[in-house]
Symmetry: C2
Subunit: 96 residues, 2 copies
């Protein structure tokens, strides 16, 4: 069973993820990404898809041309968990 992060754990985890915002209503984290064009954006999405499938932890996400919006939360935990933090770190590593 994956446990929801406490407020203190979340605050500490998000210090290491400065590009991500906390969505209080969903207890989720979100980040927007901009790319040069659709090919770059979808290439990024393909890399995230492979990470997500490998981790069996999938984002809620949308794309409009060169923009990608990602929301991470853990349905089984009722909110943010360590799995979201790990996925956000892995996604950040793709664009650094």
């Amino acid at each position: 069973m994956i446990e929801q992060l406490s407020e203190a754990e979340r605050v500490e985890a998000l210090e290491g993820l400065p590009e991500w915002d906390h969505d209080e209503a969903r207890d989720a984290i979100t980040r927007s990404f901009g790319f040069a064009d659709f090919v770059e954006a979808f290439g990024f999405m393909t890399r995230v898809a492979l990470l997500a499938e490998k981790a069996d932890h999938h984002p809620e996400w949308s794309n409009v041309y060169n923009r990608v919006e990602i929301l991470l939360t853990t349905h089984d935990a009722g909110g943010l968990s360590e799995r979201d933090i790990e996925m956000a770190q892995a996604i950040d590593a793709l664009v650094e």
Copy 2:
């Protein structure tokens, strides 16, 4: 210059696209797709991405695990155009 479809043209075009709904606020068409799992959903998205890039006409879309929501409209036309109808037909052909 791509022209926005008239109401009569839209009604006629949508008769051939029974799975698509007209979004009046956006003058767009939308369809929801369900798949067995994320791999199937993202595989479909990859095929749509290739169609979209080839046609230089890109969807607004979102994915949550096995669900994909697609919205088509033509920004340059200020609403629905023949390009959206053609893209919807090509997308439908992928899942038939």
